[in-house]
């Protein structure tokens, strides 16, 4: 019943920043990029390496985290992550899609930060704010571009996946 209800509505998570991403179905995630630009590859590589710092182990290959980049146009976002294959109850995700938008100019560091950010969503992380990242060192922030997960993020991945 709950699954049927969920299928009728736009989906989103409504929880705190620690578990407000997409919950992966396990802690072993294969990463695959599809026809990425150099910037998209840079973002993916950095995101994968940051995920490796957590309890999640990664490998190269399809079926878990699939990464795309393109000029998606003036749509207001730099990147996003969503699930393309939920389990039956929509509680965890088999295949998580990451998209990077080439439309807006970003520095090399910003591309890496974006990779860290979107891969954080694949590990069930939500956004951080100044109020809960007072030392400004989490790439899950939106208004600044840190390069790494902080210890809070790493703990949250451990707790949430």
């Amino acid at each position: 019943m709950s699954a049927a209800f969920a299928l009728c509505l736009p989906f989103t998570a409504n929880a705190g920043h620690d578990d407000n991403g997409t919950d992966p179905d396990n802690r072993s995630q294969a990463v695959k990029g599809f026809n990425l630009t150099a910037n998209g590859t840079k973002a993916m590589n950095h995101g994968k390496s940051q995920l490796e710092r957590s309890v999640i182990t990664t490998s190269w290959g399809g079926g878990d985290i699939e990464v795309y980049d393109k000029d998606y146009g003036d749509n207001g976002w730099h990147g996003y992550a969503d699930c393309t294959d939920w389990n039956a109850l929509w509680t965890s995700c088999d295949i998580i899609r990451v998209r990077f938008n080439q439309y807006s100019y970003k520095t090399s560091s910003q591309w890496k930060s974006l990779g860290c950010h979107e891969f954080g969503h694949t590990a069930d992380l939500g956004h951080r704010a100044r109020s809960n990242d007072t030392d400004n060192n989490s790439c899950m922030r939106e208004e600044i571009w840190p390069l790494y997960y902080d210890q809070h993020d790493l703990n949250a991945i451990k707790a949430g996946t």
Binding site: T12, G33, F34, N45, D71, G76, Y80, K106
Partner: protein, 208 residues
């Protein structure tokens, strides 16, 4: 869908100062809109076009604001599953509220300045589309319409223009920048092995 957007507003001041257009409007209809992407891009998504009747214009940012406008929302994924951007729920016919908008530079449609850019009025009380856990939400949610409107008018009063926070708009990347921006020295080991073999993405819903 969890996105990193151009803007993550933390104050009403910044939302009002940065959004080029602010209107009060009423949703007349909604229907499927344009399709974007392809198999090689992870699937074809389809937008949702919301027809908004403009009841009043509070800020027009140099644009000519029509009496009705088409506002783009998201959407459906390639499997036909509906999704929303962050906490911005789908607009419903009859919704009335304040819309903080920008014009898509390449299309005729309008879009939200961010997923935080809608404040509905329900039973005379404001309902924010911002993240309930974020700093903007409590500054908007649950206020009376008259109170929120008064703040908008105060912020938009030309006499207070110098007090508005205007965040810089994103700069479109040139073709060369899209190919690769110069490395700025941040170090990170790059994993070995090719990850870009050009193969087809996994069909979804997955059969695995």
């Amino acid at each position: 869908m969890h996105a990193r957007e151009d803007f993550n507003f933390t104050t009403v001041n910044a939302l009002v100062g940065t959004a080029p257009v602010i209107v009060k409007g009423t949703v007349l209809s909604a229907e499927p809109g344009r399709k974007v992407g392809g198999v090689e891009d992870g699937g074809v998504d389809q937008a949702r076009n919301v027809t908004l009747r403009v009841d009043s214009v509070l800020k027009k940012g140099g644009y000519t604001i029509p009496s009705t406008l088409t506002l783009e929302e998201w959407g459906w994924d390639a499997a036909g599953n509906a999704y929303q951007m962050e906490h911005l729920t789908w607009s419903q016919v009859g919704d009335t509220g304040y819309y903080f908008l920008d014009k898509d530079v390449m299309l005729t449609t309008w879009r939200y300045a961010s997923s935080q850019g809608r404040v509905l009025i329900k039973d005379g009380v404001t309902k924010s589309s911002a993240d309930p856990d974020g700093p903007l939400f409590p500054l908007i949610e649950g206020r009376t319409n008259s109170d929120f409107y008064a703040e908008l008018k105060r912020l938009l009063d030309p006499a207070n223009a110098g007090q508005l926070t205007v965040l810089p708009q994103p700069v479109p990347a040139s073709g060369e920048q899209q190919n690769e921006v110069p490395d700025d020295g941040a170090t990170e080991p790059v994993p070995d092995g090719s990850t870009d073999d050009g193969s087809e993405p996994t069909p979804y819903p997955s059969s695995t």
